[in-house]
């Protein structure tokens, strides 16, 4: 058992210092990169999708060298990857493990589903209050309509 775990881990090389974001649903890996602004990241970044996972079937993983996220920054990914786990790496060793939590406010990253909302007509930073965390529901700060998980799209 221990041996297989080790072999899996080696599919993506280890980083010396930084953050490993594990257990991302495979289809959400690119969204996570966008949400965390990693598409323009200019240090070492390792990305893998469709890895086998006992827990999830298929999963994605992102390893970001020399980057430690603030919790309100990393919690944004909870909208697309609530199952994600974070491993903080220092000197090739695990220094801390964390999970992500759905924040109480969501800014910028989500589009309001209401086509008649002013945020879809002009360039406006979107802002939502999370009114239900279990059955994800966001209330638009502007039009006051509820964007639910099923009609959520990302900017």
């Amino acid at each position: 058992m221990e041996k297989t775990e080790q072999r899996k881990e080696l599919k993506v090389s280890a980083i010396e210092n930084g953050t490993v974001i594990d257990h991302i649903p495979s289809h959400s890996v690119y969204q996570v990169l966008r949400i965390l602004n990693l598409t323009e990241y200019n240090d070492q970044l390792l990305i893998a999708t469709n890895l086998e996972s006992q827990k999830m079937g298929k999963k994605g993983i992102i390893k970001v060298s020399n980057k430690f996220f603030k919790s309100d920054e990393i919690n944004k990914i909870a909208l697309v990857a609530p199952s994600a786990t974070l491993i903080l790496i220092k000197n090739f060793g695990v220094s801390e493990k964390k999970t992500v939590e759905i924040p109480s406010k969501v800014e910028k990253i989500v589009r309001c589903f209401n086509p008649n909302c002013i945020t879809n007509a002009e360039e406006i930073t979107t802002s939502f209050d999370v009114v239900n965390k279990d059955d994800l529901k966001l209330r638009c700060h502007y039009c006051e309509k509820i964007t639910a998980k099923d009609n959520m799209t990302f900017k």
């Binding site: 309001c112 002013i118 502007y142």
Partner: protein
């Protein structure tokens, strides 16, 4: 309330609502008070709404303020493609307060964030129209002597009518019992019903309005629009069931009053107009007093 924008009915708490209603009472007694003589009120109507605009302009003029603005986007820089952001930033240099109506939901909230001066929302798409709600509250209190413990019936289109939604939410602060009468397709949305349930208030749903009339203190009528129905046959079936005729009021309580946000089409027959229970035109007049109260309170010229 000084310098505070009014975008959503929930921006003001119960005490502030009462404060506005009390102030509106003062303006009803003395409608002409030149307390805003040095002030400029901008009315920006990005979509036409003659009644609401005239009501605000009448309120401002009776207080001595100057009114600037436009009544439709065609006669403004909007037609040249100017963004709402830029229009509001510019106009907030010219006026002390902005009254705006806009077809997009959330536009008034956004305007209040980019404006240097307070913004009063005169309707943002299907979202909010808080001054209508305040004038409804004023009319209810005026005719019933209180806002507490009333039986209030809403009739007609309870699904799309933002007037009904905001008023329902506001009335949840006053231990109201709600009687909701609508065709099955146009029931009150569950998001609004949630507010009633949160406050543990009573509500009853009906499809037939006749049994409701003897039970209630306020009959709030709304218009049912044909375009709200997916199946035109359904509209034909229900369209005559939600029309109020004078003969239906025989068993009504003596204190019952009929409200309607106007414009009416055919949902209240003309023979009701002469019944002392008809209150909808006075309700529209009350809108002027409530808007006077809001302008004066937000500009800080009354305590």
């Amino acid at each position: 309330m000084k310098n505070k924008s009014l975008v959503s009915i929930n921006d003001f708490n119960r005490e502030e609502h009462i404060r506005i209603l009390d102030l509106a009472g003062n303006f009803e007694r003395r409608p002409r008070q030149k307390i805003l003589e040095d002030y400029v009120v901008a009315t920006l109507f990005f979509e036409p709404s003659t009644r609401t605009r005239l009501s605000f302009e009448s309120a401002a003029t009776r207080l001595g303020a100057r009114v600037i603005g436009f009544s439709e986007p065609g006669s403004s820089s909007v037609q040249k493609g100017e963004s709402l952001r830029d229009t509001i930033r510019t106009v907030s240099n010219y006026a002390d307060i902005i009254v705006m109506r806009h077809p997009k939901e959330g536009s008034a909230r956004f305007a209040s964030e980019v404006s240097k001066v307070p913004v009063i929302n005169a309707g943002d798409g299907a979202n909010q129209h808080p001054t209508q709600t305040l004038l409804d509250l004023y009319s209810i209190r005026k005719t019933q002597g209180t806002l507490d413990n009333l039986n209030i019936a809403f009739i007609g289109d309870l699904k799309y009518g933002r007037t009904v939604h905001s008023l329902t939410m506001a009335l949840c602060n006053y231990n109201t019992t709600f009687h909701l009468v609508s065709p099955a397709e146009l029931k009150l949305p569950s998001s609004v019903k949630m507010h009633i349930k949160e406050k543990k208030l009573g509500y009853h749903q009906y499809t037939d309005m006749s049994e409701v009339i003897p039970k209630v203190d306020i009959l709030y009528m709304t218009r049912i629009q044909k375009e709200r129905f997916q199946d035109p046959m359904e509209y034909e079936k229900v369209k005559n069931s939600y029309i109020l005729r004078n003969a239906m009021l025989d068993d009504a309580k003596a204190n019952l009053r009929i409200l309607h946000p106007l414009p009416r089409v055919n949902e209240i027959t003309y023979d009701v107009d002469d019944n002392p229970k008809a209150y909808y035109f006075t309700q529209a007049l009350n809108g002027v007093f409530v808007r006077q109260a809001l302008l004066a309170a937000i500009l800080g010229v009354v305590e």
